[in-house]
């Protein structure tokens, strides 16, 4: 059998073969929902157990013992440097200070899937309270000092979840009961808690401190006038302040950089220390003189340390659930039914670019999935003819045969390959061009249009 190609030049006796191919009756696909969920969920969680300050990385669990890094704030070496004139008499005098070490940092959260703009972050801290006594290197060891018996203190691990939302700043208030105590003046100004910003660079913040001097008989010091505090009936002096979690102020701020990146800035007091020292002094060296004598005092300190910061980012997650759909032609062949007729299925792979709401033209109601399925099934319901044939390269080149070129096939008896009474039109889909032994041939793979 020979064929003729309806092109300017006709070749006969070419090698060719024709086979039926690709009969499909169902299109199966799984477009993704691709909408943000309506309820917020946890998108990411980050636990921070170390911080970097001035280029050095500190493990939060050890930050209390590494006091040298923070201005030698070591309560066991508090010393009194007094150089003012005072009146004669017995004096119980004391010195105390509180310090706060603030840390502000940021964490970049990167997501593989886009995130919505409805974002919030919560920050939680956990830590440990401990007591430091003079000459004791063991922060966890409670001193057996009678002077401390009235202190409402226990050394224990604690977990607190102080949650802030979005960019709101939660400044935890002082314990008013404690603060109203006249002895409780020796705490940092409230400003210390609030003046730092989570937007700043990662850094440490040394809070303001106060020092107080007490005098037994309310004789004012001739120098700096400060409030007197302390229990003057005992050799030790302490403040009734218990550093509780109420003093922990956390700040967190969420900035969406783009659809995939969020920066969470945070600021946390990673250490709070309260130090007190006292000495009951007998009549001696302060009589009418100016002294620079240093007296090492009984001293102790409470330390509240945060050992872990947990940031949790909340928001609306993208729903990438696939929606399995199968379309088949209805009986009339003019529309679709959502069912699988039999097993000749054409599958469209699921991916994040093919969504349930992908539409065609500007009509959002005209879904691409429907349009494609109908178009495809109508075309392939009866399958296609596949035709392979070899032609001389010269003929193919002269007739500008490339992919998408359309041909009709005329048989030797002057009939055409037909379908439903119409001449089949074939489209070139593959071309292999070969040259060997002076034979220059194009092998064409054609598919019925």
């Amino acid at each position: 059998m020979a064929i003729q190609l309806l092109t300017p030049r006709i070749y006969r006796n070419m090698k060719w073969s024709i086979t039926p191919k690709d009969m499909f009756d169902t299109v199966s696909m799984s477009p993704i929902t691709n909408l943000y969920e309506t309820e917020s969920s946890v998108l990411a969680t980050e636990e921070i157990t170390s911080v970097t300050i001035n280029g050095h990385t500190y493990n939060l669990a050890n930050i209390g013992s590494d006091l040298s890094a923070f201005n030698n704030l070591n309560p066991t070496y508090i010393r009194n440097v007094y150089n003012q004139s005072v009146f004669q008499g017995l004096r119980t005098w004391a010195k105390g200070r509180t310090d706060i070490l603030m840390y502000s940092g940021s964490k970049l959260f990167t997501f593989e899937r886009p995130i919505s703009s409805s974002l919030s972050a919560t920050i939680a801290v956990s830590g440990v309270s401990s007591l430091v006594t003079k000459n004791s290197k063991n922060f966890e060891e409670l001193p057996a000092l009678e002077d401390l018996k009235n202190i409402n203190y226990s050394a224990a691990d604690w977990i607190e979840t102080n949650k802030n939302s979005s960019s709101d700043v939660l400044t935890r208030e002082y314990d008013e009961t404690v603060c109203s105590n006249p002895w409780a003046t020796n705490i940092p100004d409230k400003q210390v808690w609030t003046e730092w910003s989570p937007n700043g660079p990662i850094s440490s913040y040394q809070g303001a401190s106060k020092e107080s001097w007490s005098e037994e008989q309310n004789y004012p010091l001739s120098g700096e006038q400060v409030e007197i505090w302390g229990n003057q009936n005992q050799t030790g002096v302490y403040s009734p302040i218990k550093i509780t979690n109420d003093f922990i102020s956390l700040k967190v701020q969420v900035t969406k950089l783009d659809d995939y990146n969020v920066r969470v800035a945070y600021a946390v007091p990673i250490r709070f220390s309260y130090i007190a020292a006292s000495q009951y002094l007998t009549w001696r060296s302060f009589i009418g003189i100016v002294t620079t004598t240093q007296h090492e005092l009984e001293s102790y300190a409470f330390l509240d340390r945060i050992t872990k910061i947990t940031i949790q980012l909340n928001g609306l997650a993208l729903d990438t659930t696939g929606n399995d759909i199968s379309y088949s032609l209805n009986e009339a062949g003019t529309g679709l039914t959502e069912q699988t007729i039999n097993k000749r299925i054409y599958r469209v792979e699921k991916n994040e670019l093919f969504t349930l709401n992908t539409y065609y033209r500007n009509d959002t109601a005209q879904k691409w999935s429907n349009k494609f399925a109908l178009e495809f099934l109508q075309k392939y319901q009866k399958g296609k003819y596949l035709l392979n044939l070899d032609v001389p390269a010269k003929w193919a080149i002269e007739n500008k045969i490339h992919c998408n070129s359309q041909l009709k096939i005329k048989l030797q008896d002057n009939t055409y390959i037909e379908r439903k009474g119409s001449h089949c039109v074939f489209e070139v889909k593959t071309i292999e061009k070969s040259f060997k032994n002076n034979e220059f041939t194009f092998s064409l793979g054609l598919l019925e249009v």
């Binding site: 709401n357 691409w368 992919c403 593959t430």
Partner: protein
Amino acid sequence: MRVQVQIDYQLNIGTIPLPGALPAQCNVSHGEFLTNTKAFKGYKGFHFAANSDQKTIKADGSYKFYPDSGYQGFVAKSFTDANGNCDLTVDLQFTGEAPKQLFFQFDSVDNTYPLKMTLTIASSSLRKIVDVNKPTVMVDVSELTLVANDSISIAFSKWNKANYTAKIVSMSVNYTGIYNLQNLIDVRCSENAFDAQLNIKPGIVEQYADVSIYDRDQLIHQFAQAELLKENQQVTILSIDDENNTSEILGKYRVDEWQVEATSSIVKINCTDPSSTFENIYIPSAPVRTRTVDNLLSFLFGYIQNYTFTYIDSATQTACENIKIPSSWCLKGNVLEVLRKICEVGQLRIYWFINVFIVARCY
């Protein structure tokens, strides 16, 4: 109708300006009458021999034809003498970085070439004498310590034919190998929009070209020894119609593998298309917005340098412009992965042909 294969060895490490003393292109039949030759049926002639006075044409059968467009190359203004001597010297001035190799192509059709070349480096006065025994020569000048903007004086003093027109077809630092009937054993190349089984399946179709060359002058073997054969060197396959003096590009490919064996003069080259490099091109995640498939293709090809895409027909273009994905996004990854996903959405096939990626529908 025949096939020609051109391999661009991509060795361009400098430029050689045309020597001022010689015409870059001339239509000649005699060295002294460079412009007087008349065309006959689209061809002009080139006479390589002369009588003793070297001015009149001698009908000795040595008349060669070349296209009307002119002879491509440099021609000496005087013939070689009875002993093959010719006063032909070319000064090459390099701009920028000095080359490591020079390529000379003499007349392989007429098998004419100089027997000796003397290279003299301007900056150092170093000399190198090269004995020549074939019309294509690669000269290694790396040991001559050329410096930037250096120049070389090359004397082609002794030729293999007496009373002949001395010609240099090309001098370059960027050699393009041209292989014709006398070199080509087997050539096979594709222009495929579908896979071999013609499956209805979206995705990228990788093209192939397999070429077997008889390395007659052993130049490819020399390249292999000099480690000048690389992947990704461009291979162009053409059909040449000598009757109509036309040519057409059948495809352009990139070398995927060289098979050069020391014991065989046959060199095999396996080629593919540039899509094989897409796996190495990283793209970040796309921001969320409404995009058409056409937008996505443009977004992706924005990350692919040197290559563009076109639609096979206006219907495909319209379809791609009409498919709209609200809040479209994509995972970061390599171009190949994301391109496959775009093909899935638009039910597209993408294939390389000559110098562009063509987007077609797969159904």
